[in-house]
Symmetry: none
Subunit: 233 residues, 4 copies
Amino acid sequence: MPNAKFHCDQHQASVAKRERRKEARPGELLNAALDLFVEKGFAATRVEEVAARAGVSKGTLFLYFQSKEELFKAVVCENISGHLKEWNAQFDSFEGSTADMLDCCLNAWWDRVGATRASGINKLMVSEARNFPELVAFYQQEVVLPGHALIRRVLERGMARGEFRVLDLDYAVYSVLAPMTFLIMAQHCMGACVPAQIALDPKKYIAAQLSTLLHGWSAPTAGAAPGEPKAGA
Amino acid sequence: MPNAKFHCDQHQASVAKRERRKEARPGELLNAALDLFVEKGFAATRVEEVAARAGVSKGTLFLYFQSKEELFKAVVCENISGHLKEWNAQFDSFEGSTADMLDCCLNAWWDRVGATRASGINKLMVSEARNFPELVAFYQQEVVLPGHALIRRVLERGMARGEFRVLDLDYAVYSVLAPMTFLIMAQHCMGACVPAQIALDPKKYIAAQLSTLLHGWSAPTAGAAPGEPKAGA
Amino acid sequence: MPNAKFHCDQHQASVAKRERRKEARPGELLNAALDLFVEKGFAATRVEEVAARAGVSKGTLFLYFQSKEELFKAVVCENISGHLKEWNAQFDSFEGSTADMLDCCLNAWWDRVGATRASGINKLMVSEARNFPELVAFYQQEVVLPGHALIRRVLERGMARGEFRVLDLDYAVYSVLAPMTFLIMAQHCMGACVPAQIALDPKKYIAAQLSTLLHGWSAPTAGAAPGEPKAGA
Amino acid sequence: MPNAKFHCDQHQASVAKRERRKEARPGELLNAALDLFVEKGFAATRVEEVAARAGVSKGTLFLYFQSKEELFKAVVCENISGHLKEWNAQFDSFEGSTADMLDCCLNAWWDRVGATRASGINKLMVSEARNFPELVAFYQQEVVLPGHALIRRVLERGMARGEFRVLDLDYAVYSVLAPMTFLIMAQHCMGACVPAQIALDPKKYIAAQLSTLLHGWSAPTAGAAPGEPKAGA
DNA sequence: GATGAATGAGGATTCATTCAT
DNA sequence: CATGAATGAATCCTCATTCAT
């Protein structure tokens, strides 16, 4: 819940309308901005359009964000998932097979990040990388590196438990990241893509990629094929 | 008539015309434009900068391209690889294992597309998808679908020859595409990314991904692990 | 009706009303506005800044003043000195030399106008003359012309008493006004001027100018030089 | 001739029209800007208005000046008179009385600076002092200090030759500066001032002030009154 | 009254595009 | 052909003013 604070003020029903709106403004603007920046890119998005989509006037936007660029930075910062720590913690007590672990991991990621508007940040980091290098560095620190570490940890567990063969982790992590990144990119081109692309069912796609990876990583002595992750549990 | 003209340009382009253009202004402008569009995006790129990088004046650019948008379309059209047909032809007479085939395929693609400036088009199609839907459709027709078909053909060969287990091809093609796309995206963020990312050696990355995929796809009855592709030759 | 309302405000302002205002918001706002208008000019001053300096909110300012322009007019009207009548009355009963009279006059003016924030109005009338012609006309009526008349009266007394030589009063009044105006302008540039300027000691400056003028105006038959004004008393 | 370079391109008749205009643009813009800045102040002047008065479009202005502020600085720098050095040189060989010298000095100043549009810079330095402190410092260095030095030099000559009594030069220079500054300020309020003010004839005003000063400064032993400056030659 | 959130007209600045030379 | 000066529509941002609370 990256922007949790913007969702929970529905409950404070006793607050005056104007007040409640004021509280909600930044969140509404950030949501509108995220959608538009992802859709059209930073430069091609007009602040007036962002304001309009948030249901306010141009001037109001500048009441909450000093400039278009600050808005952009806020959009990125606000939508960066804090799930990594949470997931790291959950994995400490995970008891099942590492295949299951990976399955859980990817599906949870999809449900809470990939399938949400927050996934647009990923596209944004690719599109605007050269225009906002310091934001990319920030994203790298906050999301990419922790993400790498988490995946690495899972793979190490698999190797330690003899479930996976010996892998070059520096490259193996990309075997997980690449399909997920690709999925997000594909999703965010939907509005512009041919029907054929729509056929890409995220859950089935994830399952398929996972299956291939687990096959590919299974320890050679593991007799039978690793099969579907759930089956191995 | 979104992509009508693109087909014409592509197919009618006689060799003579191409030769003339290559050594003249338009080529330099297209190269400069490609670099800048990839680096900064369409909206954030100024035509004056393109002209300057090509060593001509702003006015000259409009002598060759009706508008910034036409320039963008030309950039995409001119940099779309025509390798697919060529490769399709080569594969008709390929004699080695399918693992080798895939290895050849990916490395050839990297050398002739991925490692060249033309790979930027891929990033461009992701970044600008929503702003130029008809261009994406064109790219889909000209590059993505043929690419899918080519990969599919390779995988089908592997299955037909008993080298690969039975795969759901609709998803298996993405197992090849995703890592390659990811690699391109990563390369194009270099200018803005942390040193850690620089460690990504393309050739090793490709080999690693391929190894995992081949392991993952190897026919279950294939006794031993499929091993490195080269070993199968 | 450029200055109709200004006269009313000025003359109808009962003491009671003034007292009430002084201790209330409007007075603080007028003070803050005067300072800022003098410092930055009308256009470059933001009403929000005025309100903030007066310790109230932006909205409150508009409770007391219909618009920024009305605020400006009020600032000018409220800070126009009513000393002229007072001084005119005092001079009816003045007994000393005219040199003393002028000395008194200039020093009193400096103490009660020149050295106070009200002197900023003078700068304002110069800076904003072309933007607020009707205000300048009002100022002309209320301050400049009475000021001219007062000085003229003093000079005429000097001539009548044989203390001064025959002067062209139309120009002689400026010999008094110019140095005083210059002093005010210099003071109001202090915040931006070089240290050298700071050396300008107002009292000494006034004495020096006065000395030169009295020398220059002394009746030719007056034997000795007129000397310092105090000495002549 | 502060903006000499902008007046002399009329002679290069052989140059193409576009070229000539290009050369003339900055000068036309600077002239228009000077007029408007003096009239309305920096903040209240719209760049579009400056451009319109110079007969060009908004965009053209930004072809020659990076920003409104740069335009302002250029206006000030271009209109700062370089007469001081010239006059300093002339005075080395001046043979007449110091009274004549001062008379020459002030009238020359009026003809070449005071009566020209360049005099507006003086008003500008007063009005905008607090908004452009660094420009004021520059003006101080380039104009005020050299001006002080020049006047000082004249007064010292008068004292050395026994024409003037012993003066406190630190304050005496202001006796010259103040009336001239006042004259400029008065002239620049004309557009907004009452008819009475118009009666101020610059040449007569200068003569009158000069007369008073010379009387005031004449050496006490000089028997008769110093008389009109011309008479002393 | 007092507040400050909201507005939107206005102004500085940019940049694709035109066109005279 | 090539140029680059000129244009003005488009866009970011400011700020005087309003008004619901």
